[in-house]
């Protein structure tokens, strides 16, 4: 994602209190922030709350936005902070699980078995999507946030590390572990799905 000149103008106008510019920024980012909230919280109601709170803060504080980072990085940081704050106020859905690095020795020594042919229509099935949701919710927040930002929202490592205020190396390690965890479990889910 890149800041473009038209967005810079939009942000400049919004900072001066231009209602149309503010509305346009909300239009441009509301879907992304809703999806971010949905994946962070796993709940539509919480996603809606995160969406509202994020844009309330944006409208109130956009005058303080100095342009040191890109606008979307600034907005995503607000949304992530709102989302994580919300999660802290709720009981954990799942017990702590340990997340390991991929076992590269095993990967390179065992015979590689490819995934069975997978029809993406399966993802349209609500039951399968709920399984996907539960799986990503099992990931501890620090891994889940990186996976969401890097892989689902396609932000760069640098932007992700700025938003989460962690080092780029840390972002990479968390991403590798998150991907490996999801892959391992998804593989079992798909095999079960194909065999039924």
């Amino acid at each position: 994602m890149e800041n473009n000149p038209s967005e810079e103008l939009l942000v400049a106008r919004a900072k001066e209190g231009d209602h149309a510019a503010l509305s346009q920024l909300v239009v441009n980012y509301s879907s992304r922030i809703y999806h971010l909230g949905l994946r962070l919280s796993g709940s539509r109601q919480d996603a809606e709350d995160i969406l509202q709170e994020t844009f309330l803060i944006m409208v109130k504080k956009i005058g303080q936005f100095q342009g040191k980072s890109s606008f979307y990085t600034w907005l995503y940081r607000i949304a992530v902070n709102v989302g994580l704050h919300k999660l802290k106020s709720k009981p954990r859905k799942y017990d702590h699980i340990s997340i390991d690095d991929p076992d590269f020795e095993r990967i390179s020594s065992e015979a590689a078995s490819e995934w069975p042919k997978f029809d993406y229509d399966v993802v349209n099935d609500r039951r399968f999507r709920q399984k996907l949701d539960r799986l990503i919710e099992k990931l501890p927040e620090k891994y889940r946030t990186v996976f969401i930002l890097r892989d689902l929202h396609e932000l760069s490592t640098e932007d992700t590390s700025r938003i989460l205020q962690i080092t780029p190396s840390n972002a990479k390690i968390r991403l590798m572990r998150a991907r490996n965890f999801l892959k391992e479990h998804l593989e079992n889910m798909i095999k079960a799905e194909v065999s039924t």
């Binding site: 509305s23 909300v26 969406l51 844009f55 065992e110 490819e114 996907l132 990503i136």
Partner: protein, 83 residues
């Protein structure tokens, strides 16, 4: 084994590293002889694709969008809004 240039590029991008960086050169050397790694990377890619696909099935509901704009009534940000 012939190295799949696109695959190397993708792995390096996944790692957030430059194609000519030292870690990527090591990966290139390894991939020349390791089919299993190719399969592993393919599974990671599919995992990401499946989650992206699932996200695309979930749209921002119109009702939520309308409520958001009502909530952000710019003349009065705090009233009528209780997230």
């Amino acid at each position: 084994m012939k190295v799949n240039e696109n695959l190397i590029r993708e792995i390096c991008e996944y790692m957030g590293s430059d194609l000519n960086s030292a870690p990527c050169k090591l990966i290139r050397e390894h991939m020349e002889a390791c089919h299993n790694c190719e399969v592993y990377v393919d599974k990671i890619k599919k995992t990401i694709e499946i989650y992206r696909y699932a996200d695309r099935q979930e749209e921002l509901p119109d009702s939520v969008s309308k409520k958001l704009f009502a909530c952000l009534h710019l003349d009065d940000l705090t009233k009528n809004c209780n997230p």
